[in-house]
Structure formats: structure tokens, C-alpha cells
């Protein structure tokens, strides 16, 4: 088992080393086969491990002591339990599909850059696996930083474009802010408990050692970390900008890796979180606000990837709502279904962009239904899934979160419904504008339109199937299912959510949400199948179109003051104070030397005068106490 678990994580690392070091030597074909093959191998190993965990329960493997001091030992341990084995499957499974897709999508790149791309991609998977597999917060943090680094590298993959570099830096810096919170939480844990291993931290004894203020502080700091990585208010603006990277990277970041890290971390620490009412409320409020804010922005965007990006932010908001109301398995369920349909949607969008010659503006698309049949069908399935239409996967997971929200607080539920309606609306606006109606692009583009090659359509088909039937892992009891996922996670989640709602209430909730989604969906379809959005004219439309002016707000409120402060430091502190002190010392010496050397005028009389003055001074210093005065006194009396 030890070796098998190691294999899961070593394959992507091997791929990274192979492609990273050999990028100038291998042909594209070798690179593609190797990179994809390593992830598939990792996926197969994950399946074995998953099955083992199913039969024998959680697996703990110890490799070596990572840090060993008198007071603190941090072992390099991996833990594969129900939660991490599920994440393993999603990461490597969706990851290998994205790798396969990338082999065709990135075909235009030259071999060294092609290899660089796959090296980063493998490293990304490796980091994410490290994050998920680790048995303590330190290993999780290493993976956490790893995905941050890889996201930076991949968002800035086309490094010759300055804007893309800017987006990459933005992602990295925003993540750093969150990372600081996570790091402080780890320090707090070490200070209070002297350990970071899950098996020791997440126990009743540990909880007894922590005061409620400690728990609230730690969980809030952990949540700050999750905010950065999972793009929640106020640290979400990097995710839409992360669209600068190649489209499969967006799929990877949004679906399998990176943004789900925050959800994983909170689910992993759910015992801590459920002991802090305050944190839970904050998580839920931030989650639902993010969901609504991102949804309103998504409604007005015209870039196919931007819409999907904001939709991801919005869906992550739902997951955090789920975490906040205690529906941990619901949140994990949504992570999994979201991984399927969001990867599908991004890869579908990539297929469209590929066909459209790197055009991303949906106003210039339209009528692609007949030109890209497979992409069209799969994309439609993705849209239906995310909109929450039964029996597609998104319906089950979203409904579970909404039901839990309803139980906790009706306001969350109402807001959640509004968000769900908007989700259905903007997804079908996107679908209708892109695939229905007439083609609005140039003739050249129309002539070039073609369905993507098999390497790209195959992942689409697989993901479409998963999006359609993925909900089967969590069919609620009232529908005759037994909710396999909740059973799976019962060992991880401290307080298994039990729906105390009456069966009829649950049916009504479902009915309402489906009805609302359906109405929003039909409005969007009827409105956008013939026309596109004009530039928004109303104030609120402009407000949404410009993304609530949040980037501008950050620019004005944070970046500009910081720049001014830096300028002040440079212009005043550095140039005036520090340089002034250094140069001033030199000038003072030169100035005084110019004055003092006039004394040395060659006149013997002056020399003697100064000699006498010197002797007098010396005497005064020598008898610098009362004795000389006393001596003079005795002389005069």
C-alpha cells in the first residue's frame, strides 16, 4: 500500500521532471504520450487505492520524519481515507481527461513550449495530490503553495503578453494573502497543541485544549486561506483574470485542482469549524454573497471564458454556503459534480475557441450548433447540469446544499434560489448566444469552423456522461436513493447532516428550485437565441458589466495607496533621509575640513596658542570633577 500510494504522487512528479528537463529533446508526440500516460497511471493507482479504502478503511502510510525537533515532530505521512480517495479520483480522473484534451488543444505550440506546458500541468496535479494526500497541515500547505505556484506559471504561460503576466502575478499575490492566513492558523495550532497531524488535531482531546476563542481564530484564519485559494469575497478577482492561461488550464484550475483546495481543507477540518458558530456564519454569509455577486457579473459578460469563470466563483460560493450551514458532504458532492460539468464547460469552450480561431467574444459566435455537433451536445449537457435540472448531476448537489441552507436559515435559501435562477439564466444565455441563431463572425472564421479532433471530443463525451449521471452518488433518500456519498464521508464529517425536514417540505423545496431554474432557463433561451446583448445602457447593467467596479475599487483603495506609499518610501525615505544621512556625513566632513584646515596657517604663535588652549582643556577634563574647584578654593582662602 505504501508503494501504491507513493506511485499516485510520484507519476506526475516523474512526468514533470521528464518533460521539464527534456523539453528540448523530445518530440511532441513523446511529450504528449508521456504526460498523459503518467496521469492516467496515477489515476489507475488511485482507483486501486480507492477500492482498497472501500474494503479496508482508511490507510495511513508513514515515509519519514519531515521535521524533527525536541518539541515538534512533523512526519511525512500520507493518509488516504474516504475524503482524500474521492478527491484523488476526481483530480487524477478529470486531470487525465484534461491532459488528453490538451495534447490536441496545444498542438500549435512549438515542442519546447509544449513540453513546458505539460511539465507545469503535471506539477500542478502533483501539488494537488500532495495537498490532498498529506496527513498534516504542513504537507497540505506544501501542496497548497505548489498549486499556487503552478497556477502562476500556467496563467502566465504565454509570458510574452504583458497582460497575462499581470494576471499571473495577480493570482499569485491574491493567493499569498490567503496563504498568510493559513500559515498563521498552522502556527496557532502548533503553539496551542504542538502538533499539526490531522489524527491528533481533529480529536476531542485537542478540542478540549482549545478555548472557543482559539477555535474561532484558527478557523477564521483557515478560512482566509480558503478564501484566497477558492476565490471568495474579497479575494476572488484573480480567478476571472486567470482566464489568461490556456483554456484547459482554466478547466484544471476551476474543476479538478486549485479552487477545490479550500473546500477540501475546510471539510478536512470540519470538526474545528462546527465548534465555532461565528466562523460558520461568516463562511455561509461570504459564500452566499460571493455566489450572488459572481452570478450578477456573469449575466453581463460577453467573453465565453469570463462567464464560466464567474460561474465558477458563484458555484464555489454555493459550496461555501454548504460548508457554512454544516452540509460538508453536500459541499464535497458539489465539488465533485462541479468538477465534471465545469471541466466539461471549459473544455467545450476551448473547443469553440479552437474552432473560432481564438475568438472568445460570444457576440461574434452564434449558430455553432450544426458546425460543432459534439461540442454542442456536450456543452448543452454541461449547461443543464449546472442549471440544476433533474436528473443531471448539478441538481442533486445544489439541492442538497439548498435544503441544508433552508434548515439553517430561510434567508440563505431564498438568496440561494435567486442565485440558482441567475445561474440557469446566464448559462443558457451563454449557450443560446454561442450555439443558436445565426453565425455572426467573419466569413474567414466561418470557413474555418470545424469539429475538434477526437483527443478533444473524447474528454468532452466522457465528462458529459459523468455530468449527466454523476448525481447518482448522492441521490437523496426521499427519491429512493441511499446517498452513497454521505455514507462515505460519515467517518470524516463529525456531525453528519441529517435532514429533519418533512418529506413533503423537501419535495416542495426541490419543486420550487427546479421551477425557478426552468423559468430562468426558458427566458434566457427565448431572449438570446435570436439576438445578443447590446452594450448595457441601464445603470445597473453597466454596474454588472463592469464587475461591480471591484477591480477599480481595489485599484483605488489598495493598489494606488500602496504605490503612493512605495513612491513616498522611494522618493522621500530613500532619497532624502537615507541618502541624505550618508551624503550628509561626507559633506559635513568635507565642510568642517575646509574650515578647520585654515587653522594650520604656519604661524608659530597660533600653534602655541592652540597648544596652551589644548593644555587648559586637558586640565579641565582631567580634573573634571569638583577637585580642581576645591583646589582653587583652598588657594584663595
Amino acid at each position: 500500500m505504501k508503494i501504491l500510494v507513493a506511485f499516485i504522487i510520484l507519476w506526475p512528479l516523474a512526468g514533470f521532471l521528464f518533460n521539464g528537463l527534456g523539453r528540448n529533446y523530445w518530440s511532441k508526440k513523446v511529450i504528449a504520450y508521456k504526460a498523459t500516460g503518467y496521469i492516467v497511471a496515477s489515476f489507475i493507482a488511485s482507483i486501486f487505492v480507492f477500492l482498497h479504502v472501500q474494503d479496508h478503511g482508511a490507510v495511513m502510510v508513514h515515509y519519514f520524519d519531515f521535521i524533527h525537533t525536541n518539541t515538534l515532530t512533523i512526519p511525512f505521512d500520507f493518509k488516504v481515507d474516504a475524503l482524500s480517495s474521492l478527491f484523488l479520483l476526481v483530480i487524477t480522473g478529470v486531470g487525465s481527461l484534461i491532459h488528453l484534451y490538451s495534447t490536441a488543444y496545444m498542438q500549435e505550440e512549438s515542442a519546447p513550449h509544449y513540453a513546458r506546458y505539460f511539465a507545469y500541468l503535471n506539477l500542478f496535479i502533483f501539488s494537488m495530490l500532495l495537498l490532498v494526500l498529506g496527513d498534516n497541515y504542513i504537507i497540505m500547505f506544501m501542496g497548497w503553495e505548489g498549486v499556487g505556484l503552478c497556477s502562476y506559471l500556467l496563467i502566465g504561460y504565454w509570458f510574452s503578453n504583458g497582460n497575462y503576466n499581470y494576471a499571473a502575478k495577480k493570482a499569485f499575490i491574491m493567493n499569498r494573502i490567503g496563504d498568510l492566513g493559513f500559515l498563521l492558523a498552522i502556527f496557532w495550532l502548533i503553539a496551542k497543541l504542538g502538533t499539526v497531524s490531522y489524527s491528533e488535531v481533529l480529536t476531542a482531546e485537542s478540542l478540549a485544549k482549545l478555548s472557543s476563542a482559539d477555535i474561532t481564530g484558527i478557523t477564521l484564519l483557515l478560512f482566509v486561506g480558503a478564501m484566497g485559494k477558492s476565490a471568495q469575497i474579497p479575494l476572488f478577482t484573480w480567478l476571472p483574470d486567470a482566464m489568461a492561461g490556456p483554456t484547459p488550464v482554466s478547466a484544471l484550475i476551476h474543476a479538478a485542482t486549485m479552487v477545490t483546495a479550500g473546500i477540501y481543507m475546510i471539510t478536512r477540518s470540519n470538526i474545528l469549524f462546527s465548534h465555532s458558530e461565528i466562523t460558520q456564519n461568516i463562511v455561509a454569509i461570504i459564500g452566499i454573497s460571493t455566489a450572488l455577486l459572481a452570478a450578477t457579473i456573469a449575466i453581463k459578460q460577453n467573453d465565453i471564458k469570463k462567464v464560466l469563470a464567474y460561474s465558477t466563483v458563484s458555484q464555489l460560493g454555493y459550496m461555501f454556503l454548504g460548508l457554512g450551514v454544516g452540509a460538508y458532504s453536500g459541499a464535497v458532492f458539489h465539488v465533485i459534480t462541479h468538477a465534471f460539468f465545469k471541466a466539461l464547460l471549459f473544455l467545450g469552450a476551448g473547443s469553440v475557441i479552437h474552432a473560432m480561431h481564438h475568438e472568445q467574444d460570444i457576440r461574434k459566435m452564434g449558430g455553432l450548433k450544426s458546425k460543432l455537433p459534439i461540442t454542442h451536445i456536450t456543452f448543452l449537457i454541461g449547461c443543464i447540469a449546472i442549471a440544476g435540472v433533474p436528473p443531471f448531476s448539478g441538481f442533486f448537489s445544489k439541492d442538497e446544499i439548498l435544503a441544508a441552507a433552508f434548515e439553517k436559515n430561510k434567508i440563505y435559501w431564498v438568496l440561494g434560489l435567486v442565485g440558482a435562477a441567475m445561474t440557469a439564466f446566464y448559462m443558457f444565455r451563454l449557450y443560446a448566444t454561442t450555439f443558436l441563431g445565426k453565425f455572426r463572425g467573419s466569413n474567414e472564421q466561418e470557413a474555418h469552423l470545424h469539429e475538434s479532433p477526437l483527443a478533444m471530443t473524447l474528454p468532452l463525451i466522457v465528462l458529459a456522461i459523468l455530468s449527466a449521471v454523476g448525481g447518482a452518488i448522492g441521490i437523496p433518500h426521499i427519491m429512493g436513493g441511499h446517498h452513497w456519498l454521505t455514507g462515505q464521508l460519515s467517518s470524516i464529517v463529525s456531525t453528519p447532516q441529517e435532514t429533519h425536514l418533512a418529506v413533503s417540505t423537501e419535495w416542495i423545496l426541490m419543486g420550487v428550485s427546479v421551477a425557478i431554474a426552468a423559468i430562468a432557463l426558458l427566458i434566457a433561451l427565448s431572449r438570446y437565441s435570436k439576438q445578443t446583448d447590446e452594450e448595457p445602457s441601464s445603470a445597473i447593467g453597466k454596474f454588472f458589466y463592469h464587475k461591480w467596479y471591484i477591480d477599480e475599487l481595489y485599484q483605488k483603495a489598495i493598489i494606488e495607496p500602496l504605490n503612493k506609499f512605495a513612491l513616498f518610501l522611494k522618493e522621500f525615505i530613500e532619497k532624502k533621509v537615507i541618502d541624505g544621512a550618508v551624503n550628509g556625513t561626507g559633506k559635513l566632513v568635507q565642510f568642517s575640513a575646509r574650515k578647520v584646515r585654515l587653522i594650520q596657517n604656519g604661524q608659530a604663535g597660533y600653534y602655541i596658542l592652540f597648544m596652551v588652549l589644548g593644555i587648559i582643556t586637558l586640565f579641565l577634563f582631567w580634573f573634571n570633577d569638583i577637585s580642581i574647584l576645591r583646589f582653587i578654593y583652598t588657594l584663595t582662602h
Binding site: 596657517n601 604656519g602 604661524q603 608659530a604 604663535g605 602655541i608 596658542l609 596652551v612 588657594l635
Partner: protein, 111 residues
Amino acid sequence: MPIEYYIFLCLTLFSIGVIGVLTRRNAIIVFMCIELMLNAVNMLLVAFSKMNYATAQTITPNTTAGIDAQIFVFFIMVVAAAEVSIGLAIIVMIYRNTHSIDINFLNRLKN
């Protein structure tokens, strides 16, 4: 006579010497002022040795304490006389070279 009187006299002579050296430009007078300082100190030496002798005599009547200083003063005077002859010789040589004994002209060593 109390020792203070001697000390005051010597201090006054020494100060006159110092001020003379500082203010006068005539090399001869400067030289005389230097001698004045030297002899002021010399006199102080004699005065202290006498005081020392007087104190010691109250304890042991036949003491010789302080005698050595009295003798030393003669040595100093001899050395000073030798020094004066050399100093005057230098001044004479300067006068021959510059036709002046103003010490403000004695800045040829500058630079």
C-alpha cells in the same frame, strides 16, 4: 610665609610668560618669556621642597628631606643657560638670514 604666596607668585609669573609668548612677536621677548615660565616652575620647585623640608623637620629635626630638589634647581638652571645660548645663537642666525627677529616671519616651514 605660607606656601600659597609662592604658588600665587609662580602662577602669575608663569601666566605672564604664557601671555608673553602668545602675544609678543619679537623673538627675543618670546625667548625671555619662555625663560620666565621656566624659572617660575623652578621657583615652585624650590618652594615645595622648602615646604617638604619644614614638614619633615617637625618629625625628625635632622632630616635632609627636600635637599635634593634644591640641588636639582641648580642643574635645571645650568641646562637652561646652555639652552639659552643655543636659542640666542639660533635667533642671531635667523637675524642674519632674514634681517628680522619677528616670529611671524618664521613661517617658511609652511607647506
